[in-house]
Structure formats: structure tokens, C-alpha cells
């Protein structure tokens, strides 16, 4: 996605669907958190999401198997966080 402001829940669902993931309310809570953090200019890490109170790190792996931060940021329509943690 080029412009994060064009993001909608439907676009997110479509992108996730291509990867075989059906988005639930919990998924959307994570996506909204990522979008809010990104718009504040924060550097996102998996640890921050784990401390967000939405889901712990284990839960995040279950929501987005094989790429907790990679896939969630993709569906949230934000750039992949440039962080090693």
C-alpha cells in the first residue's frame, strides 16, 4: 500500500485473506494499535505490541503466524517496522 490514509478494514481483510488469515476483532485491535503508533511516529517493535494490553507476544504469533510484525504491519497498511526486535 502506498498511502496509509487509504486504508480500510475491507482492504485489510482482503490482504489477509490472500495469506489465508481471517481477520477477527482481535486482529483489528492490533491493526488499529499499529496504525495509531505509526501515525505518532513511533518505531514499532514486537515488544511494544506485546505490552499494548491488546495481546501478548504469544497471542500475536497466533494471530499472525509466521510473521507477527511483518504481516500485521502489512495488513495495517503501514511500512514494515525498521527494527530488529
Amino acid at each position: 500500500m502506498v498511502d496509509p490514509s487509504q486504508w480500510t478494514r475491507e482492504i485489510a481483510a482482503e490482504m489477509a485473506g490472500e495469506d489465508g488469515i481471517v481477520l477477527t476483532d482481535k486482529h483489528y485491535e492490533v491493526l488499529e494499535f499499529l496504525r495509531a503508533s505509526h501515525s505518532k511516529g513511533e518505531t514499532l517493535t514486537i515488544r511494544k505490541v506485546g505490552k499494548s494490553g491488546i495481546v501478548d507476544i504469544k497471542g500475536l504469533y497466533q494471530l499472525f503466524p509466521g510473521g507477527p510484525l511483518k504481516f500485521s504491519s502489512k495488513y495495517a497498511g503501514i511500512p514494515k517496522p525498521a527494527s530488529c526486535v
Binding site: 504469544k58 504469533y61 507477527p68 511483518k70 530488529c84 526486535v85
Partner: protein
Amino acid sequence: MTTNTEKPLKKVCIICSKGTIEDVYATLIMANGAVMEGIEAKVFFTFFGLDAITKKQMNRLKTATVGNPAMRAPGGLPFPTILGILPGVEAGVSAMMKSQMEKLDVPPVDEFLEMITAGGGEIYACKMAMDMFKLEKKDLWEEVKDVLTVGEFYAMCGGENTQIIFT
């Protein structure tokens, strides 16, 4: 356009043999980075690396302040080795390293290991080094999956697109 024929990495087996902050964190960052990308990670701690998974030591790791020419004082000033031998210098430098990492959201060792196992990474201890240091399973962090011989660890490192990394 050329076709990319590279096969993506599927598994990394990381061996950590040293117990300084930077050696252990290199291991933890690589292991966590792997599971975050969907790459299987198995980590084997041996010799002084065992400190990273020993309950008593895991959050008390230090950086060596002697014999490390790449270590400089803040601002890039030289840090002569002779200063490194003074009492408290190693503790001070180590505390500074940890606070700098915390600023980058890099967690303490125990929390970092939890992040790795939360992603399906597996943590192992070396049997020979445990015997040598007179350590028992109960001395280790609870989520250490097993104590292995090197042969048993190698047996887990099979499969296509697997790499062994030694730190």
C-alpha cells in the same frame, strides 16, 4: 529481469559459547529475528554462554572492559585498557550498554528469551559445559527445553535450507 532462484531460509541453529552482553545479545537478536520472520530457531548455549540461561546470572551479564579495542568512551574518545581494570568500570559500562539497549526497546535477557519461545524458538543447554560448570537443570531458566550433547543438537539441525551459526 532475472529470476530469483534462492530458497528462503527455513531454520537457523545458533550456538552461543560466550557470556558477555554483546555475544549473548547477538544470539538473542538473531534468534528472535528469525522467529519473527517465520524461520524456525533452535539455540544451544554452551561454555560461558550458559550464563545467559542460568537463573542466577542471566540478568547480570557484563561487557568486558579489558582487551576490547572497539570500546570507546561516549563521544568516541579513546578508552585505554588500563581504565578497564578499575573497580566499578565494568559494572558502569555494562549498565550503560543495557540502558542504551532498553532505549531501543531491546528487553532484558529473561524477557528476550520469553519472546523467542513465544514465537516457537527452542532453547537448549550443553550437557558437557553443564557438567564442567557443575550446573544442574534446576539452575537453568525454566523454559530451557532440554540439556543436550552436541550430537543430539546436530540431529535437530537437519532439513533443507538450515544454517548453523556460531557466536
